[in-house]
Amino acid sequence: MSTAVEEKEKALHEHLEKREYWWWAEKARSSRIDYLRKAVWPKAAKGSSYLPGTKICWHGYKIYREVFDTPDAKMDPYILTFAKAQAKVLDTIPIFIIDQSRIVGYTGSAPHKLYMTPQSSFNVAWDMYNDRMDLVDREEDRPWIKEAIEFMKPYTYEARADRILSRRQRIMCSTSQTFTGSSHRESQTYSTTQWGYFHSGFNNILAQVNENIAEAEKVLYEVGARPDFPAEYDALNKLDNWRSFKIVIEAMLRWAKRYSRLAKIIAENFETDPQRKQELMEISRICAKVPGEAPESYHEFLMYDNMAQRAKRYEWGEGAWPAKPDTWGWPCYKKDVIDEKTLSQDDALDLTCEYLIRAFEYGNPRNRQYRELMTGDPGPYVWALGGILPDGSDGANELSDTILKAARLVRVASPTYALRYHPKIRTETLRQAFECIRHGLGYPNIRHDDVLVQSNMYWSGTPLEEARTWTAQACIVPCPGTKHGVMPARYSASSTLGSKCVELALWNGFNPVFKMQIGPKTGDPTKMTFDELFDACIEQFKVIHWEGCKIRNISRWVEEEIGRPMLSSGWEECIETGKNAFQRREYGNNWLTTFIWTDGWDAMAALKKLVYDEKKYTMEQVLEMLKVNWEGYEVERMDFVRAPKWGNDDDYVDEIVVKAYNRTRDEVLLPCKDWGRSSRGIPTAPQNIAAYTVAGVLLGALPNGRRLGDTCYDGGCSPGAGLDKKGPTAVLRSVGKIDHVTSHRANLLNQRLSPTQLVGDKGFELWHNYIKTWHDLRINHVQFNMVDNETLYAAQKEPEKYSELMVRVAGYSAHFTGLNKKTQDTIIARNVQTL
């Protein structure tokens, strides 16, 4: 070994010994990946602000303003005009190739820009236009941008939904009293990809579309054809959809060819390095081929997926990126790396690293609240790995391992990963997953594959084989990637504030934070038994959940009218039936995310103990203390804090929490109806992202001891930070009392582990034993932070030295120093569990 190599090995070893994984990554990755990683523009927000230098790409506004003002647009159905506008954007948007990059395609006119979709939300556009961080690149562009935003307002999903929503519904959407936002105010969606079909080559798909158009035109226009109203009516209903699909597919293929030409121009006219020249010519070759043709090599697969995913994001901002890359890319990877060995493992790793960096590079403009909810992450882009495949075999493979190795080298917040765990999972993949956690990345989260497959079958009526194709549609909710299973948007565009039901029950439907009567008058709590108070909580939750669902059902009608030609083009059923992505009816995978769920039930346990059982306080006294936010009642507050708490395997409180799950399922969730073809009710998915800090100022004082302003519990079924006093097994035993198949759609458990305890092979074995216990208890999710407080405090003190330090927030990972102090503090406050 040469001295330089020896020194590098020594330095790498030292970083690992000192658990300085971020410095290890910097030295261990190739110089190309190091350059690309450092050259990337992160699109995550810190608090509610984008990072300095980030700008909005308004190119879409310029084009849509023109296209929606043409005579054709006044006559054409919305979807056709929408397709024409998208096509013109793809034909005219400036494109670029980043130096040293081998995977091209970006959503936006420059790498520091977020592309704003003009048909989604005018309020988000206004927010971007007026942002104090000056997101408009050139001052002289302001007049036309302003005029274009005003012009496009009536064509936006938001304005069209607002037109049909009631005043109360609009107020509730705007104020976040019991749920945050709603789909029409978010300017983003979470659409799933149909396995196989999406990667089958868009030339084939286009040929099918052309055939269908020809058939429909024959029905309508063939001279001498017998009149047939049902057939003609059917053709008329489909024809414009197919025409819109054709427009966007052709535009996407032209857009890819623009990259092909650009790469060739640079190679032939500007590039002086022969190796880079060759790389550019290879980029040119691949972009001339994909996504028109199906990929045949691993490099082609990565380029195909990146191009097609990016094109989809020109249509609508995507807040998530549901993917199963170790299955989608496996045939190409296996052929190149394992069978034919035309691609070295190192080069495959480098390409994978760049693929992750390209995904991390994407971001979409978000409303202010959403930026806070996802502080530190442009996603979450949760990619599922492993799991049981439709044929019953293990889905983990060498590509799963390569992706996890790449994740440790690039250390990006998104993509983040969901490892679909089952007892027969490949050991090497599990070990790679543990290494990621040990490196402090906070991912992958570990998902109970069988529970989630069963849950999908229970709530959505998805057949077993199709349920096994699941990817994470958002942070935690699985969605099948099949012809009848894929979803155009997450249902959960409004996320309810679960514990608000307890607060409203305590104040007879009055919201003490907003000073408004928003809930039903369920009665004076001072005159109630504990059971009656419980009933009142359920009644309050009914209104919270049902209102969110109804608004979503209504806004779905608007989505049908607008359609999504690009998304529809990747879905077999749309191509076959001529329905757009929103007109077809998937099995149904609907849910409302429920933020801050457990705080309220801990509060109920404290009331049961101190008011109803021990009678130490009266309800009047409790209400008085809550009214003043416990000010002057610190001794009494601590009494309530010391009452039994969730996460300690204490049946006193656990029974209350489980009862809350079961009653809400039976009385609130199951009676709902959505558009799914075989769905059952509309479930909740308790989890938090960063809502546990954001909602700290939306949820008032409660009898669990919280004050207005305090952060809430950090996961869907996590105990309160620091309140799980009896160790990791007690936490699992509490959480295992919930039925994870039928009582909710998915749930989230955060745990912190000791990095010093889990060193070496022994550490892996300890962790694996813990995972086996977790699996036996049939808990659907668990994720880990494995960074010690010493490091976290040091990073707070000297953030410049820890810029690459990552942590798991809740449902996503983020760079620690990119979080605001409050969120940082909440992560430090979580108990470190010793296994």
């Binding site: 601590m638 620091g722 309140l723």
Partner: protein, 55 residues
């Protein structure tokens, strides 16, 4: 209590309550009404002191 940033003195209640990282901690962050700086407050101790003064 006293603001460590600007020296402002007042009762605990005059400092706006911000947050507490864990419910069982007696210390919390409050905001100085004068300079808006964050001040760490031992809720229990401050309350005891204020109650003693009131007597």
């Amino acid at each position: 209590m006293k603001c460590e940033h600007c020296g402002f003195e007042g009762t605990k209640g005059t400092f706006r309550y911000l947050y507490n990282t864990t419910l069982d901690a007696v210390t919390a962050y409050r905001e100085c009404p004068k300079c808006f700086g964050w001040v760490v407050c031992n809720e229990l101790e401050e309350e005891k002191k204020e109650k003693a003064v009131a007597k």
